[in-house]
Amino acid sequence: MSWRYVSAIAVGTSHLRTDMPCQDRVACAVVPCPDGADVFVGVVSDGAGSAAFAERGAATVCERLPVLVRDALARSSDLDAVSDDDVRTWFLRLRDELRTQAGDTDAELREFSATVLLAVASDHQTLCAAVGDGAVVVRAGAGAPFEVALWPEGGEYVNQTYFLTDDAVAERVAIRRFDGVTDVIAFSDGLQQLALERATRTAFEPFFAPLVRTVRESAAPPDELARSLAAYLDSDAVNQRTDDDKALLVGCRTADAA
C-alpha cells in the first residue's frame, strides 16, 4: 500500500488588499516504518491574523509536527500504540517550541498563534487531531460518504477560534480515530464555506469527490498536480466565496507504488 498526495496554499484576497502575507501552511509526508508499512502524515496550520509572527508559528507547526509523528512511529506503524496523551504531548511540545522562538525574538507567545490540523493514516487506522478551526474529512473506500472527522472548533462566533498557543491547549486538542480510511482531506477555515454544510454538519460531496478523483486518477507528476491545486485555490470561483487564506491537502491510499 502506498499514498498519493497533494497540497497547496493560496493567499486570501483580503490579505492581498491589506498587504498581509499568506499565513496558512501545509505539509505532507509519508513515513516508512520498520514493519514495512507506509504512514501518511498531513498537517495544516493557520496563523492568526492578529499575530505578528503568525506565518512563523504556522511554518513551525508544519515543519516540526511531522517529525514528532515520525519519531513516535520509529518502532511500529500501529497507531493504537499512540495514546491520546502522546498526541497531547506533541501539541505541548510544539507550543514549547514556539515559546522558545518567541523568547529568541523577544516577543510574546501569542504573536505566534496558529491553529493545528493533523491527520496520521496507516494502512488500517487513521488518527486525526486538531486545535482550532479548519476541518479534517475522511472517506473509507470508494463509494463511502465523506465524513467530517473533526469539525471546526472555536466558540460561538465565526471570527474567533482556539490556538496552539492558548493556555488550555491540552484540554482543547480534539482527537478522533477511524478504521479503514482510504482518503484524507484537511483544509483551513478559508475553505469551510465551500466544503462544509453547517446546517447538516456534513461534508459537501461535490467539493471533495473531484479532489480525490483527481489525486487518484491524474497521471500528472506531483509538482504539476500541486500547481494545479494552487491555481484552483486562487481561482475566482473560490475567491468569490472567501477572502481568507486557504490551505488544502489530499492524501489517498493506493494499491500501487507511488
Partner: protein, 236 residues
C-alpha cells in the same frame, strides 16, 4: 387548514419555526453579523431630527451595498420606540433591507424597547444555529434624544450582563437633549455612550456601515480596528 381561525389583520403573522423564512439562508448561506438598530421615535424627534434619521437609514443601506460581502453578511433590523416598541424592519441581509420611513410620536419606553431588542437578538441567533449559519458577535445600536419614560433598570442590567458575556456589543448614542447620565447607566462601562454632534445622522450611519463592513470581513484572530467616530461631540 382551518379557515375559521382568523388572525387579526393588524397583527403580524408569526411564521412557524423552520418555515419558509428559512429560504433566505439557502439563497445566502454567508455568515451573518446582526445589527439591530433601536431608535427613539418619540414626539421630540419630530421635524428635522426624524428627517435626518430617515436620511441616515437610507445612507446606511447604500453604504452597505457598495461592499458585496457586507451586503450579504450584515443582517439589519430596526426596532423603534415612541408608542410601544415596534419592529419596523425584521432581520434581513443588507441587500434586502428596505429602510423604513419613520414617523415621530409618543413617549420614550426605552426599557421595554431594550428588553424587546435583546430577546429578538437571542431568537435571531437561535435561527442562525437552526439553519447552520455561522455568525459574528451582533451589534445593538441604540439612539435616543430623551430619557426612558418607563422602568429601564432591569433592561440596563441585561445589557451589561450580555455585554460582559460577549453575547453582543451595545452602543448608546444620545441626540440633542438626551439624558446622557441615564444612557450611561444603560450602556456598558467599557463602552460609554457618545453624543451625536447636531443632527449628523448621515455621518453616524456611514461610520456604522464602515464598522459593519470591517466586522463582516474580519477573520479569525484579527483585532477589529474601527475608525474613530467622527460624528460625536464632547459637549454634554
Amino acid at each position: 387548514m382551518n379557515q375559521n381561525v382568523q388572525t387579526p389583520f393588524d397583527e403580524p403573522v408569526t411564521p412557524a419555526a423552520g418555515g419558509f423564512d428559512a429560504i433566505e439562508f439557502a439563497e445566502n448561506p454567508e455568515p451573518r453579523c446582526a445589527c439591530l438598530l433601536v431608535l427613539d421615535t418619540s414626539g421630540s424627534m419630530q421635524g428635522p431630527p426624524i428627517a435626518a434619521l430617515n436620511l441616515g437609514l437610507r445612507s446606511f443601506k447604500d453604504e452597505l451595498l457598495s461592499d458585496p460581502l457586507a451586503a450579504k453578511r450584515v443582517d439589519v433590523a430596526v426596532l423603534t420606540f415612541g408608542d410601544s416598541p415596534q419592529l419596523v424592519a425584521d432581520f434581513t441581509d443588507a441587500a434586502n433591507f428596505a429602510p423604513p420611513e419613520l414617523r415621530a410620536g409618543g413617549l420614550t419606553p426605552m426599557g421595554a424597547a431594550i428588553w424587546d431588542a435583546l430577546s429578538r437578538l437571542t431568537a435571531r441567533k437561535e435561527t442562525y444555529r437552526t439553519n447552520g449559519i455561522a455568525y459574528y458577535r451582533p451589534w445593538v445600536f441604540l439612539i435616543t434624544d430623551g430619557e426612558p419614560t418607563d422602568e429601564y433598570q432591569t433592561a440596563a442590567k441585561s445589557v451589561r450582563e450580555g455585554e460582559e458575556r460577549g453575547a453582543f456589543s451595545f452602543y448608546g448614542v444620545g441626540v440633542g437633549e438626551a439624558n446622557m447620565a441615564k444612557l450611561a447607566e444603560i450602556a456598558p462601562p467599557n463602552r460609554p455612550p457618545v453624543k451625536l454632534d447636531g443632527l449628523r445622522f448621515r455621518d453616524l450611519f456611514v461610520w456604522l456601515s464602515k464598522s459593519m463592513r470591517t466586522v463582516s470581513h474580519s477573520v479569525i484572530g484579527t483585532t477589529i480596528a474601527l475608525d474613530p467616530p467622527g460624528w460625536t461631540t464632547t459637549q454634554a
